[in-house]
């Protein structure tokens, strides 16, 4: 059983990734490339469907699917690749998307989760070995910021002052 941070709570993950040992009819996250390869098959998936974006993917390509997606996962492969921050904000700025926005990958660590939450990620699937409790505390390292973010309800700790 995998645990994740969702809206600042540590919860058991009800989603599965394609390639994992998948129970029948479970909520499933598939790579965008899979969705493109066989859209018919996935349209008939009996449970909730989520899409996983690699850093070079374009959320603009999800135009048709976006309103129906319960979850979009964005990959942070680590070693400082920050494209996911922009992808997250693009999704949160799109009025058609109301689902869960999840950060996944080796780059999802306690020292980055605060910025991720500010970019609209309301669920954080931490890199293997990361301490969930420490990551949860890290969401509260700052209560003042300069810029507006793209917050999702409950994703980030309350901010008491913002400049712009």
């Amino acid at each position: 059983m995998r645990y994740i941070l969702r809206r600042r709570e540590i919860v058991a993950d009800d989603w599965y990734h394609l390639g994992e040992d998948i129970p029948a009819g479970c909520p499933l996250i598939i790579p965008l490339a899979q969705l493109r390869m066989d859209p018919e098959r996935w349209r008939q998936w009996p449970a909730a469907l989520g899409v996983r974006l690699a850093p070079a993917d374009a959320p603009e390509d999800l135009t048709d699917e976006l309103p129906g997606l319960a979850l979009v996962a964005v990959e942070f492969p680590g070693s400082g690749d920050g494209r996911g921050y922009t992808l997250g904000r693009l999704l949160r700025e799109d009025p058609r998307f109301h689902g869960e926005l999840r950060a996944v990958g080796a780059g999802v660590r306690q020292d980055q989760v605060f910025l991720m939450s500010r970019c609209g990620f309301d669920s954080l699937e931490l890199a293997p070995g990361e301490d969930l409790e420490a990551a949860r505390r890290a969401l509260q390292r700052y209560d003042v910021v300069y810029q507006p973010g793209s917050p999702a309800a409950g994703a980030a700790a309350p901010i008491r002052a913002q400049r712009f």
Partner: protein, 551 residues
């Protein structure tokens, strides 16, 4: 100057607490060197050749006297009693201990200073014209906008893990003293036909391995759109800038590969499509920032004839080390960090403390760091100049060489930097010794020498009238000369004049370049103008005539 409010102060304290915890975890083995690296870099900390190097931010080069005194105290307590001012108006400490860095940052925070984003792949210290606010030719003071950009860029949620470092410079004067055309973004303040303020936006300039001059992507951007437009540029860059090759990751490479027109189109599309989400810049925020940079309470004075009855040495200093001020009776005064034989930009704690006291006494308690690695007292009464000169002379800070050949810009080079291929400080010293005759120096007039210890170009060699690049050859330090670079107004990149030279031949080569100039110049023609008129060839011939063996 800008004063922190409760938000700024709370933010830097929270940042120090975060870095203290990260350092503790690293030292306890909980955070690997690889994981700690991007975190320490974003707090100014490099691991260098001999020891860590801490780069302290001096936003747009402006320091209160009490801050300079605090820096002096920090260099005494945690370092070796001196610091190095850089071309990007920051201060580097070369010998701090890693475990002490959180305490140093806490001390900085207590005087409204920090080292945030002075390194790492993020938006760096925003730089400005060192004569901002006092220069008679200025459209508007760039510093309020620098401060707004500083705040906006600080721990930006979307742009803290960019493909590569990102440098922004702002200038409000026709003469570009901020090298803005060789920055990732250069902003030039201007007025439109209705007299409204805004910016011309340049993107994609830079030095390093593939030096390029920035392209204008917008002739006029209204003030209110500043942050939203910067976000559009950075968003295009963050998504599409290369991450597979560190040498191709700067925005200049993206601009070049897309072509400036396509890049501009992408930025404009991004900007227009998200106007509802762009960070707003409200008139009251602009006003709040501008209020921090109001003109000083100047006395009503008349310009003086400061030369009457004064000694020649003072007159030389006045001519070379002071500049016009827009207020009658005042002058801007350089504190030269280019005494011959001293590493360019270095300053001892005692000098810092004395200059801080001097600034309190004669220049409204403010000091500026210049792009050329000197300090500036911007608002000195002409009637105080002689006394200020005497004091600076006593401190070893009155070398009357600003703008001359020995006002050398240099990175720290092989002596300190782990990236360097060759030394810069020893070479600067050899050149200064060779040109130690002031009459000869003055006869040569305005010549800029810029030295970088490696291709990264921190010493801006590409835009020096004479550029010197250190290269490693068969395990030895050699130097490649370029001529004709300039970052001032008419920005140009220098051209390599021939094979590199061993260290001991560089000062001689520069002397031959100077002699060639003296032989070819027309009356009162500056070095750079002679060079542009006659081309490289006569200089090349003269430098290599005696060195057929150089290869």
């Amino acid at each position: 100057m800008y004063q922190y409010d409760e938000l700024d102060q709370a933010f830097i304290e929270q940042r120090v607490a975060e870095f203290r915890d990260q350092t503790r975890r690293h030292l306890a083995g909980e955070l690997s060197a690889d994981e700690f690296r991007p975190l320490r870099l974003r707090n100014g900390l490099y691991l260098q050749r001999h020891a860590p190097m801490l780069r302290i931010a001096i936003p747009y080069g402006l320091l209160a006297a009490h801050q300079l005194a605090a820096l002096a105290a920090i260099t005494r307590r945690y370092d070796r009693g001196y610091g190095h001012f850089t071309t990007r108006q920051n201060l580097q400490l070369n010998w701090p201990r890693l475990a002490d860095v959180p305490d140093i940052l806490a001390e900085l925070a207590s005087v409204q200073m920090h080292a945030i984003q002075t390194s790492g792949n993020c938006v760096r210290n925003v730089t400005a014209d060192h004569l901002a606010g006092v220069n008679p030719e200025e459209v508007d003071d760039p510093r309020p906008y620098c401060e707004i950009i500083r705040q906006w860029a600080t721990q930006h949620p979307e742009f803290t893990y960019l493909p590569r470092k990102f440098k922004i410079a702002v200038t409000g004067a026709p003469e570009d003293r901020a090298a803005s055309q060789v920055h990732d973004i250069g902003l030039h303040l201007k007025r439109d036909a209705d007299g409204k303020l805004g910016f011309t936006v340049l993107v994609g300039g830079g030095l390093g391995r593939a030096p390029m001059i920035g392209h204008v992507i917008r002739e006029f951007l209204p003030l209110a759109d500043l942050l939203g437009y910067l976000e559009a540029i950075l968003r295009v860059y963050n998504r599409h800038g290369r991450r597979d090759n560190i040498h191709k990751a700067r925005i200049k490479v993206l601009v070049k590969s897309l072509g400036p027109a396509t890049f501009r189109e992408q930025v404009e599309t991004q900007w227009r499509s998200r106007s509802a989400h762009a960070t707003p810049l409200l008139p009251e925020q602009i006003e709040r920032a501008r209020a921090c940079f109001r003109p000083q309470p100047y006395a009503a004075l008349a310009d003086l004839d400061v030369s009457a009855g004064r000694e020649a040495a003072f007159l030389a200093w006045y001519r070379y080390n002071t500049r016009a001020h827009r207020v009658p009776g005042y002058r801007a005064v350089f504190v030269s960090l280019k005494a011959h034989g001293q590493p360019p930009g270095d300053m001892t704690a005692q000098q810092m403390e004395s200059v801080a006291a001097l600034a309190e006494a004669v220049s409204f308690g403010l000091v500026r760091v210049t792009h050329s690695q000197n300090l500036l007292l911007a608002d000195v009464r002409q009637s105080d100049l002689h006394e200020v000169w005497l004091k600076l002379k006593e401190l070893g800070l009155a070398m009357p060489n600003i703008g001359t050949l020995t006002d050398i810009i240099a990175c720290p080079g092989l002596d300190f930097c782990s990236l360097a291929n060759a030394g810069t400080l020893g070479l600067a010293k050899q050149i200064q010794e060779r040109f130690d005759d002031l009459d000869y120096l003055y006869d040569l007039g305005e010549i800029e020498i810029k030295i970088s210890g490696c291709m990264n170009g921190c010493g801006h060699h590409h835009v020096g009238h004479i550029g010197i690049l250190g290269v490693e050859k068969r395990g030895e330090e050699w130097y490649q000369l370029t001529l004709g670079g300039s970052a001032n107004g008419f920005t140009a990149l220098g051209e390599v004049i021939g094979p590199s030279l061993p260290r001991d031949e560089v000062a001689g080569a520069i002397e031959r370049i100077a002699e060639t100039y003296r032989a070819l110049r027309t009356e009162s023609e500056r070095f750079i103008d002679t060079l542009r008129r006659v081309g490289l060839e006569p200089f090349r011939e003269r430098v290599y005539a005696l060195h057929p063996a150089a290869a």
